[in-house]
Point group: C2
Chain length 107, copies 2
């Protein structure tokens, strides 16, 4: 069965853009079965994460918490062509900072 | 000056609904100046939090991280009349669980 959420990670230097697409309408019960790229297991928790995709706020909420061990978590804003930091352990990287990231679509 | 985001916390038993309203269009720089109700300082980190309001995903992201020390964090869904848990330290309370919460508007 096709997963409810398909994740497409794309790394550039010290940041991973985690883009997601929904294969159907999500229900809250789907959160228990998600399998986002596990950066901790991959030894990549020192990287920053930018989340990108169309989905409910609670999906974003789940992913923000999931990537909490990473250097920082940002939300992609296509208008600003980058991620807006919402949480950070990285010195000098604060909520509200913009992490520039050019996606394939914006090139 | 009026704050960019006005928070209206509402407690019922062991959960606080943190509703917010924007007084103007937010920019990422606004995140640095936000003053959400500080449940840790109030000795209320043992409570759960339900976030509610219309705003950008990165505002939600900031608030989810901000309330990370609390028992759990959920996102209000008016259709389901409750909060959908996205992060939890509480045994038996998992992402995807619905925390029923009747707001004034839905009564």
């Amino acid at each position: 069965m096709k997963p409810a959420v398909i994740f497409r990670p794309d790394r550039k230097q010290e940041v991973v853009l985690v883009h997601f697409e929904l294969s159907r309408t999500l229900t809250p019960e789907d959160l228990a079965g998600l399998a986002p790229p596990d950066l901790v297991q991959l030894g990549c928790a020192h990287l920053g994460v930018i989340l990108s995709g169309r989905g409910p706020i609670w999906l974003y909420g789940f992913l923000i918490h999931y990537y909490h061990p990473c250097s920082y978590v940002a939300i992609y804003d296509p208008r600003l062509q980058g991620g807006i930091v919402v949480a950070s352990h990285k010195p000098g990287c604060e909520p509200g900072d913009l992490i520039p990231y050019q996606t394939v679509n914006s090139q």
